[in-house]
């Protein structure tokens, strides 16, 4: 069992341990979860150091590291041929930073769960299963395995939102589940289609191996998703385009793009703080990761054809999300919409098909990962104390919670893209990429880059306006004296959770090469795969 498998299945072991311990030891559950997650983070950082950044990955199996491949399911299904499913995991420059991010965000989420009282056994067990599923998604290189982890992720989330959530939790949990499942059942059909179109040259059997799906040479001539001699059409639309759209739809729901984003504000608002942290910090990234790993790598030809539309969707998400954030009166909802806007940059960057743009998109995902986690944690701090987060119910918080205000100010400035912080690097690279796209002839016009820049402006507006409304001026609270007593400043635990995220935002803002260095080879490889079709 290699390091990657340990990383994936360690949380599962923790979940079983928590389930096996009697309820009389319930005080120990959070420590078990914490210990395992700390160990996971240490392991992922170790892997980050061991990683060889010169290897590219993407569509070459040699370029992947920490690879493990075991035959899992081998079935002879007669006429349909042999079913060949592997336990096949490995990481490249695209997945590795996201894995490190996930372990960090998971740790923050455990820190945020410290005071959960309601059925802790189930809570931490579900959190650990979710952890396993997320690691599995980022590491899986077999499409079947990927899909299994992708679906397994939904169940713990449903219960985490549904049982430990806010007032309208039942509605939010169901909505979230339905949206994601709608995307993924259609994805299953495309997976089956790809399976029949691709043959493993070594064994002659059809395969779910994603790496083999990325090589045009492995496609059967005339098969449904075949590269060459593909006459298949569905209602007049070429089958490969349909496949791309279905997969993009599934991941776009996760990102989320406008207009498929409506589950996100509900899920975020109703979810408990730790789950909001995971939703924003990790799950939205699965969407971006899926587009790069699956849509763009398996359908490079269609990616080159459709990137204008994807970039357009990205720009719309940036602007629409920002305008919505501006209009929100609930602090958590505002941050949820800011996520929509910030994830729009990811889509714009990926669609620009330039090295700067795609690297910027990856960087934006990492940066948004821990910054949004910090933001949701900060909202949780307020909500824990007075059970209210309506922006207009607070005024002049700076005088009674000075340390909290400093943390909020840093997190807000970092998120709005102030130079020196990580979000600036990510957004700037995306915009540079989008500007260059026209001269690189990838089909993304300059005005889209302008649209993205306006988004940065808007994000400054809503963050600063919120800061002004809630924290500055004369102290005036809706709940009067009772609230003033309840609103104590940050305690040590909260500072410990927040510090690494904010420090990382500053560190990566100053030394972005920490991430770029590991990304570069993989991004170039991805672009080289798409370039012939431009």
């Amino acid at each position: 069992m290699g390091a990657l498998s340990i990383l994936i299945f360690l949380p599962l072991f923790a979940a079983f341990l928590i389930l096996a311990l009697p309820t009389s030891l319930k005080g120990s559950y959070k420590y078990i979860a914490l210990t395992f997650t700390v160990f996971q983070l240490a392991l992922s950082i170790y892997m980050y150091q061991q990683f060889d950044p010169t290897l590219s990955g993407i569509n070459t199996i040699e370029g992947y590291q920490f690879v493990e491949q075991l035959p899992w399911i081998r079935l002879d299904l007669g006429r349909i041929g042999k079913l060949e499913i592997d336990y096949f995991v490995g990481i490249d420059g695209v997945s590795l930073p996201l894995i490190v991010l996930s372990t960090l965000v998971m740790l923050m989420s455990i820190g945020a769960s410290w005071h959960v009282e309601k059925s802790t056994k189930g809570y931490f067990a579900l959190l650990m299963i979710l952890n396993m599923a997320v690691m599995g998604i980022f590491a899986a290189l077999d499409f079947f395995l990927f899909y299994v982890f992708y679906e397994v992720m939904l169940l713990p989330l449903y219960f985490l939102i549904g049982i430990w959530g806010g007032a309208r939790r039942e509605y939010a949990a169901m909505k979230f589940f339905i949206y994601t499942l709608l995307g993924s059942v259609l994805m299953l059909l495309v997976i089956v289609g790809l399976y029949f179109s691709v043959v493993n040259p070594a064994s002659g059997a059809h395969t779910f191996n994603m790496i083999l799906m990325m090589n045009p040479g492995n496609y059967v001539d005339g098969s449904f998703f075949g590269f060459i001699g593909n006459y298949h059409e569905v209602f007049g639309v070429p089958s490969r385009l349909i496949g791309f759209i279905v997969l993009f739809f599934a991941f776009a729901i996760k990102v989320p793009i406008v207009p498929l984003h409506t589950w996100l504000p509900d899920a975020h608002v109703e979810a408990p703080t730790p789950v909001s942290i995971i939703l924003a910090g990790i799950l939205l990234k699965i969407g971006g990761y899926g587009i790069i790993r699956v849509c763009y790598s398996i359908f490079p030809d269609i990616a080159a054809d459709t990137n204008w539309w994807l970039a357009l969707i990205g720009v719309i998400s940036i602007l629409y999300g920002a305008l919505n954030a501006l209009a929100q009166k609930d602090l958590k909802r505002m941050i949820a919409y800011s996520s929509v806007s910030h994830m729009g940059f990811v889509l714009l960057g990926i669609a620009s098909l330039t090295a700067e743009g795609v690297s910027g998109a990856m960087f934006q995902m990492i940066s948004h990962g821990f910054l949004s986690a910090a933001l949701f944690f900060l909202v949780g701090v307020l909500y824990d104390r007075v059970h209210d987060r309506y922006i207009y119910n607070f005024r002049g918080l700076a005088t009674i919670m000075p340390t909290y205000t400093v943390y909020v100010a840093i997190a807000f400035f970092a998120s709005l893209g102030l130079p020196g912080f990580s979000a600036f690097i990510g957004e700037a690279f995306v915009i540079i990429g989008a500007f260059n796209a026209e001269s690189m002839l990838t089909g993304v016009p300059r005005w889209m880059a302008v649209g993205g820049s306006i988004g940065i402006l808007l994000s400054a507006a809503y963050f600063l306006w919120t800061l002004q409304r809630m924290f500055f001026g004369q102290t005036r609270l809706q709940g009067g004296e009772k609230w003033r007593v309840a609103l104590t400043d940050l305690d040590t635990r909260e500072k410990i959770v927040l510090l690494p995220a904010l420090a990382l935002a500053l560190l990566l803002g100053i030394v972005p090469s920490l991430i770029f260095h590991h990304l570069n080879a993989s991004i170039l490889q991805l672009l080289n795969t798409i370039k012939p079709y431009l």
Binding site: I73, V148, F224, H232
Partner: protein, 489 residues
């Protein structure tokens, strides 16, 4: 036909070994009648012992037949792998249902129920092993009559008697229509064997309107047993009215036999290029899509878990018909889905029954807040629900994946739009089904309720069987090879 009587006798005697498991069932049937009449009063539960040993012995004989592939009784009786495996699944399910009844109906049980069950199983075996319309009709009637009796057997309330009555009325009408259709087919072709070239040729040359009527009439009878749309209307009432143990029986065993018969029929009848083949495949596609849609959409509005399961099983029947559509030479995925379906349904009804015993209700809302009081039961129930939806890592998902693969393969070759529609409907109904299956954990875990009185379960054995089935659903979902390699070998 001038065959001498000795030749006929020789053939019958030579064919007897093929009939061994069924002979055993007949012996068991008579033995359990005698036992119920004479022994049951003195020795309680003796008949259930007779029943279970009959089933176990028949499993033994079936295993001996695994390598056999032959026909007997002048081609009336087919023994092949498909039939043997199907009968094994039936016997396995029958054992669990016998245990179910034995545990649940201790007081009001005088032992007759086991002989009726054995008769039903015999009928199912006949359906699995025949390509002759005469035998098929006898099989269907045996199962039907036994089912009518079973539904009304434990009836104490008006509702149960009403369910039995509805079932019997609807069933007899369907049987009559089917018989009429069969007589038309016999009249047109002069043959009762649907695999015989004579019947196929007869159907090819027969006028289209009369073929249409004959075929549709025949499908009515099969449709009644499989309860696919539009012959499903009886099932929600009957499922709700019958005792849970009997509902578990109705939702699993009768479907297996009818499905195997339909598979045999469909493979032969859809293989030609003539009108009746087009009609058969068109009908199957239509019925499959309609069943998935109607079953899943109607389930959304149900408030009673047993009614919900009735609609859910209509939806699953639609899915099974998809497997029949794609069936060509390999039956593994069909059997795999049948096994998955049987395991999931038996586990579900065991859980429903355990809850009914404690809360006295089968309303979904009665589960409110129970998740915290019975965490293990509801976790297992939720896992089974996940499998019924068809999400990984469960058997329901593997089964669906294999059927999708088989249908997609057909689509890739034929390139017909309706097949793609079939696939898309199959995938989308999974999303619809999420809504109603997740009402179970929704009520159990997400809803809170004032502390209510929960009775103590009398039988733990049954619950453990339920947990065991759940474990199999997960295990075979992760490692389907364990089962499939067994089937292929």
């Amino acid at each position: 036909m001038n065959v001498s009587i000795t030749d006929i006798l020789d053939q019958i005697i030579a064919s007897l070994p093929l009939f061994r498991p069924e002979l055993l069932l007949i012996v068991g049937f008579i033995a359990s009648i005698c036992s119920a009449l004479f022994v049951e009063k003195r020795l309680k539960n003796f008949t259930s012992g007779v029943y279970l040993s009959t089933i176990v012995l028949s499993i033994y004989f079936l295993c001996a037949q695994l390598t056999t592939s032959a026909t007997g009784f002048s081609g009336m009786w087919i023994v092949d792998k498909l039939s043997t495996y199907a009968r094994l699944i039936i016997a396995f399910a029958a054992a669990i249902i016998g245990l179910f009844i034995q545990q649940r109906h201790k007081q009001d049980n005088n032992g007759d129920v086991y002989s009726v069950l054995l008769a039903a199983i015999l009928g199912m075996n006949v359906l699995c092993n025949s390509s002759n319309w005469m035998l098929a009709f006898i099989g269907i009637e045996m199962v039907s009559i036994a089912s009518y009796v079973l539904v009304g057997y434990f009836s104490k309330q008006k509702k149960q008697a009403e369910a039995a009555m509805k079932y019997a009325l609807f069933g007899s009408v369907c049987a009559a229509i089917m018989l009429y259709g069969l007589s038309l087919i016999y009249g047109l072709t002069g043959s009762l064997d649907f695999q015989s070239p004579q019947q196929l040729q007869g159907l090819m040359v027969a006028p289209e309107p009369i073929v249409t009527i004959a075929l549709l009439f025949v499908f009515v009878g099969i449709g009644f047993k499989l309860s696919f749309v539009p012959f499903h209307v009886w099932s929600p009432d009957v499922y709700e009215g019958a005792p849970t143990a009997i509902t578990a029986f109705l939702s699993t065993i009768p479907k297996i036999g009818a499905l195997i018969l339909f598979t045999r029929l469909y493979t032969v009848w859809s293989s030609t290029a003539f009108y009746f083949s087009d009609l058969t495949s068109g009908f199957l596609l239509f019925v499959s899509i309609a069943s998935m849609l109607v079953g899943n959409l109607a389930a959304l509005r149900q408030k009673d878990i047993k009614r919900l399961m009735a609609y859910s099983s209509i939806g699953h029947t639609g899915f099974l018909l998809m497997a029949v559509f794609a069936y060509q030479d390999a039956f593994q995925y069909l059997l795999f889905y049948i096994v998955a379906y049987v395991l999931m349904n038996l586990a579900t009804f065991i859980f429903i029954d355990a809850l009914e015993e404690r809360t006295g209700s089968t309303a979904l809302s009665s589960y409110a807040g129970l998740g915290r009081k019975m965490p293990v039961l509801f976790t297992a129930f939720t896992l089974v629900a996940v499998s019924l939806i068809g999400l990984p890592p469960t058997m329901g998902f593997m089964g669906k994946l294999m059927i999708f693969s088989a249908v997609f393969d057909t689509y890739q070759m034929a390139d017909e739009g309706i097949v793609l529609l079939l696939l898309v409907v199959g995938a989308l109904t999974a999303v619809i089904s999420l809504f109603y299956y997740f009402r179970i954990p929704f009520y159990a875990f997400l809803r809170n309720t004032e502390s209510l009185q929960i009775g103590v379960a009398k039988s733990q054995i049954l619950l453990w069987v339920g947990y065991l089935l759940t474990a199999f659903v997960i295990l075979l979902g992760l490692f389907p090879g364990l089962l499939l390699n067994l089937i292929t070998a």
